[in-house]
């Protein structure tokens, strides 16, 4: 039975009842309606309501007309019998999940703007690669805890002289170490090591290796696991059990040619036979990354005749903090030392193990970290700029999307996915680049920066996380706002009024200009840093050495205790070698006496000058050289005044450097003058020679050197080797050759013909030694230059992009200017001005920034000095030139605009 939808007072009349009944019958003839059990009744109710309401509003006739039309509609359906046809399935790609669809569109858009996308991805990869690899290096050397179990509880004990207030590392005698072992409530483990360099008889004669003498328990304390064989066991390192040796992975590969049967192989190390018991993996870097062999030393029962001073490595007992243990160690140190016969004025100080990396290395690394962070900001600004440019290029595309029903959220999501895609690809490429750069850093960073670190330089999970984080930051923080901005402006220009000078484009140009200003400002920082480094480094490279280092080689030889205990024998050996060398073809001069910069500084105490005997100087520590007369000639170290040594000179005859003479005898010639240190006789100056620049310093400081004749130097210069040492003395020979490369091989051969048992310690070109000594500043300089160069390139690219955009935006205006009689040069000048304005604003902001950050710069760049007018001038010139380069092509394009053609195109 049909029910009525009409209000009660509208009783169904015959029209509505008839139409309802007929419509029900007709609806049953329409298959799709009949398929629904309620369908015909629903139709009948609705038709009845239509008739009733029409009757009420417009009268009976209208109601009949409406009813007829309803029935006619249903009759038509009953005749046509339409079946339910849902909207056909969308094309296959449209059935993908929304994110996949968006990803596909994003990819298509990137392919469409492939030049921009490739540049963005490349820039990002470079930025992420450089930043991640620098992070990796910093993390490996400075931040990552030492790779040992409970590394934070490990420490090194040093000695503190309470009276004279100085600390020195090492020099713990076995009884003192044994006494510390009894303090188990403070340290649950006390192990020790020493790091001598000892001779090793390899296939190519005697060489030297870096040895670590360790207590057997040291390996277990550090959780070392051998790669092959075994490590030391308790009881090894006593008399009769000292012949075991563990070798490093590098030693095994390079010196033992990766011998698979290395365990049990016999070697001659430190002139004693021993056998290899195990090989440590490459990741084990204790005491340093350069250690090649480890031999055992038992504290409780040291081998007979071994007087050894060691460096203690302790582990703090559970339940104590490091700080509390340090205080306790200092409190107990004096008492423990006195009990075993140590001086009463000493105590112990505890340092964490992680403090092994030098200050200079740490500062250099932080400088690089700061520089690479700046570079990443430039990269990020560039990526943001490119993201905006890409979005602006696609304005029409975005407008079409909007026209097809895309909302702002849709456009922003699409833009985000596009930026995320760029970031993901950039991030992946950046990680690969970082892995390569990290590997490069491992082999090319100077050993001075890396050997002290306990962790090998490697790209680990933390670094990969950093790379991903950088990618995410660049996509979300820098890319997305630009995308939103562009979507908004595109949408408003698509949906709003179409004006040629739409606010959107002007605003976007402003944002892009702002980004370029940021890039230039940060780049200014990098350039100032690079300019300072370059100047400091060039000064370092160009600074003369004071002597002629060309074709000069140096050979350091170790004289074994057997045969050279007598000083006369040592002198005789050196004389024999020099005599033989001087007759060797290709050798110009040969002498001994050490490298000029390797002199041992000795304490002279307060020095009394002859004519001012009542005014002794402050205590002096000066480098003292023991050299033959031939030394000065061989080095071509100029004699400024006076004479060189003669055979009749006594022990109190001295030659001094120019600086020494000038400082203490400013008013008169120092030749013939006398001085004496504390506990010294009067020393007579017979000659003055030129100054020699120290290897590691960039400039000339106060170079005060004293030269004594061989065999007549003060006692303090005589070597103090322990009776147990297998090498009793070291001598350095200096040879000037016609061809230094030939001499590098011939000189050691000549030495070994005199005595095959002496150890050739080091053969090197003097020039190369100077180069190596400045490896750290050179590396920092090179990296700074690379960072600044990359930053500059990016800033130029950004500037070029903005100016090109500017020209394309203002084509019509340019056309009008031409039409009004402007000359091309006027138009070009407008574009160039814009470029220079961008660079100028960036430069000013950058200089302001550098003033604000002067303190940070001063802390990090102590080696190179403060920014000065010259550095700033260099930066201004470089930036000005690059601004011109970046503006040139857009300016040229503007100058070549043809107004007639432009109007025709319009």
């Amino acid at each position: 039975m049909a029910t009525s939808l009409a209000p009660d007072h509208d009783r169904p009349d015959w029209v509505s009842r008839f139409c309802a009944g007929t419509s029900r019958l007709l609806a049953r003839r329409v298959p799709s309606i009949a398929a629904d059990p309620d369908g015909p009744d629903d139709i009948a109710e609705t038709v009845e309501a239509v008739c009733l309401m029409t009757a009420r509003r417009r009268g009976r006739v209208a109601s009949i007309r409406a009813g007829v039309l309803e029935l006619a509609n249903l009759l038509g359906l009953a005749i046509r019998r339409p079946t339910l046809v849902p909207t056909p399935d969308p094309p296959r790609h449209r059935r993908w999940p929304a994110w996949r669809l968006s990803l596909r569109f994003a990819w298509k858009r990137l392919v469409g703007a492939r030049a921009n996308a490739a540049w963005a991805i490349g820039t990002l990869a470079l930025g992420i690669g450089l930043t991640t690899s620098v992070f990796s290096v910093l993390d490996s050397i400075l931040w990552r805890p030492a790779p040992y179990p409970q590394a934070r509880r490990l420490g090194e004990l040093a000695t503190y002289n309470v009276e004279r207030k100085f600390t020195f590392m090492g020099f713990y005698a076995p009884p003192l170490l044994a006494a510390w072992r009894t303090q188990s409530d403070l340290f649950d483990r006390v192990e020790a090591f020493d790091t001598p360099v000892v001779p090793f008889e390899g296939d190519d004669g005697s060489e030297t290796v870096s040895e670590a003498i360790v207590t057997p328990g040291l390996f277990s304390l550090l959780g070392a696991v051998p790669e092959r064989g075994r490590l030391f066991v308790d009881g090894e390192g006593r008399t009769g059990t000292t012949d075991a040796v563990v070798v490093s992975d590098a030693f095994w590969r390079e010196r033992l040619h990766a011998d698979p049967d290395v365990v049990g192989r016999r070697l001659m190390i430190d002139n004693a036979p021993c056998h290899v018991v195990g090989v440590l993996p490459a990741s084990f870097r204790f005491p340093s990354g350069g250690t090649e062999v480890w031999t055992p030393f038992d504290l409780d029962a040291p081998p007979r005749g071994a007087t050894r001073a060691l460096m203690p490595l302790v582990r703090i007992a559970p339940g104590r903090t490091f700080e509390a243990a340090a205080i306790e160690a200092r409190a107990r140190g004096g008492r423990i030392g006195v009990a075993v016969g140590e001086p009463a004025n000493q105590t112990a100080v505890l340092y964490p193990l992680s403090d092994a990396v030098g200050d200079k290395t740490e500062r250099s690394l932080w400088l690089l970290a700061a520089a690479v962070s700046f570079l990443f900001l430039v990269v990020a600004a560039n990526v943001a700029n490119l993201s905006l440019a890409r979005a602006l290029q696609r304005r029409r595309d975005l407008a079409v999307h909007a026209a097809l029903g895309a909302s702002t959220a849709d456009l922003v999501r699409a833009a985000f996915i596009e930026n995320a895609l760029v970031a993901a690809i950039g991030c992946t490429a950046g990680t690969v680049l970082a892995a390569m750069l990290t590997r490069l850093a491992r082999v090319s960073l100077p050993a001075a920066m890396t050997t002290a670190a306990f962790n090998a330089i490697a790209l680990n999970g933390r670094a990969v996380l950093v790379a991903i984080g950088l990618g995410a930051v660049s996509a979300i923080v820098f890319g997305l706002p630009m995308a939103i901005f562009a979507s908004r402006t595109s949408l408003s220009s698509a949906l709003g009024a179409q004006s040629r000078s739409a606010t959107g484009s002007r605003a976007s140009r402003r944002v892009r200009s702002l980004l370029v200003v940021v890039e230039v400002a940060i780049c200014t920082e990098l350039l100032i840093g690079a300019a300072l480094m370059t100047r400091a480094f060039v000064a370092l490279e160009m600074a003369g050495k004071g002597f002629d280092a060309a074709n000069l080689i140096t050979v350091r030889v170790g004289l074994p205790a057997s045969g050279y205990r007598d000083p006369g024998a040592r002198r005789q050996f050196v004389d024999d070698v020099l005599a033989r060398l001087r007759t060797t073809p290709g050798v110009v001069a040969a002498t001994d006496g050490g490298l000029p910069t390797e002199a041992r500084p000795i304490m002279l105490g307060p020095v009394t000058i002859d004519d001012r005997a009542d005014q002794p100087t402050a205590p002096l520590i000066v480098p003292v050289h023991e050299v033959p007369a031939s030394y000065f000639e061989a080095l071509r170290l100029p004699l400024v005044s006076g004479r060189l040594f003669g055979p009749d000179d006594d022990r109190n005859t001295v030659i001094v450097s120019e600086d020494f003479a000038r400082k203490y005898w400013p008013a008169r010639s120092a030749v013939g003058a006398r001085f004496r240190g504390a506990n010294q006789e009067w020393q007579t100056i017979v000659g003055i020679v030129g100054n020699i620049r120290p290897m590691t310093s960039g400039g000339w400081q106060n170079e005060q050197d004293l030269y004594y004749q061989s065999g007549k130097a003060p006692d303090a210069l005589q070597p103090r080797m322990s009776a147990a040492a297998s090498i009793i003395d070291y001598r350095t020979l200096i040879v000037r050759a016609e061809r230094s490369t030939d001499a590098l091989t011939s000189v050691p051969r000549v030495i070994h013909t005199i005595d095959p048992h002496v150890v050739i310690w080091r053969t090197a070109l003097v020039d190369r030694l100077y180069d190596d000594a400045i490896a750290r500043p050179r590396t920092v300089f090179l990296l700074m230059a690379v960072f600044a160069g990359v930053g500059l390139l990016l800033a130029v690219a950004g500037m070029y992009g903005v100016l090109s955009h500017l020209v394309s935006q203002r084509l019509r205006e340019i056309g009008v200017r031409f039409a009004l009689g402007a000359r091309p040069v006027d138009v070009g000048r407008v574009v160039l001005k814009s470029g220079v304005a961008l660079a100028g604003t960036g430069l000013v902001c950058g200089l302001a920034l550098s003033v604000a950050m002067a303190r940070l710069a001063t802390t990090l760049m102590t080696d190179v000095g403060k920014p000065d007018a010259v550095s700033v001038a260099i930066v201004v010139v470089v930036l000005g030139a690059t601004a011109l380069v970046a503006s040139w092509s857009p300016a040229l394009r503007a100058m070549r605009v043809d107004p007639v053609q432009l109007l025709r195109d319009e």
């Binding site: 029910t3 609806a27 609705t46 038709v47 249903l74 449209r94 949906l495």
Partner: protein, 123 residues
């Protein structure tokens, strides 16, 4: 709804479907309520016939743009089924709403283009 999640795959909507979805944006309506709302809003310019509406509703339901609502206690605004009340109400689904707004934007953009070309004269 087993359809793709992209509302734009349903665009453009037919004028009738657009009007029906628009009628449902205020809340659930029965068939006559939809016819009445369209009639009033378009001032009689668009008058739907019951059979046409019924078939269109079937398609919109099948496409997931509209959900049939059985009058029950848990349907806000829909009275319980009592003698004299309709059997079935229709409500726009969230997806239907997304399709409707996408089509509105499409038309908005088209109008903006037409306006820019001064189709409507100087406005």
């Amino acid at each position: 709804m087993t359809r793709a999640a992209d509302p734009r795959s349903f665009l453009p909507l037919s004028p009738i479907a657009f009007q029906v979805l628009l009628a449902l944006t205020d809340g659930p309506r029965h068939g006559y309520g939809v016819i009445q709302e369209i009639d009033t809003r378009t001032r009689g310019a668009m008058r739907l016939r019951t059979g046409t509406l019924y078939l269109l509703m079937q398609r919109l339901v099948a496409d997931g743009l509209v959900e049939p609502v059985r009058p029950a206690k848990n349907v806000p605004g829909a009275p319980g089924r009592t003698p004299g009340s309709p059997r079935r109400y229709y409500d726009i689904s969230p997806f239907g709403r997304a399709v409707l707004s996408a089509d509105t934007r499409r038309q908005q953009a088209a109008v903006a283009d037409a306006r820019a070309k001064r189709v409507l004269g100087r406005v």
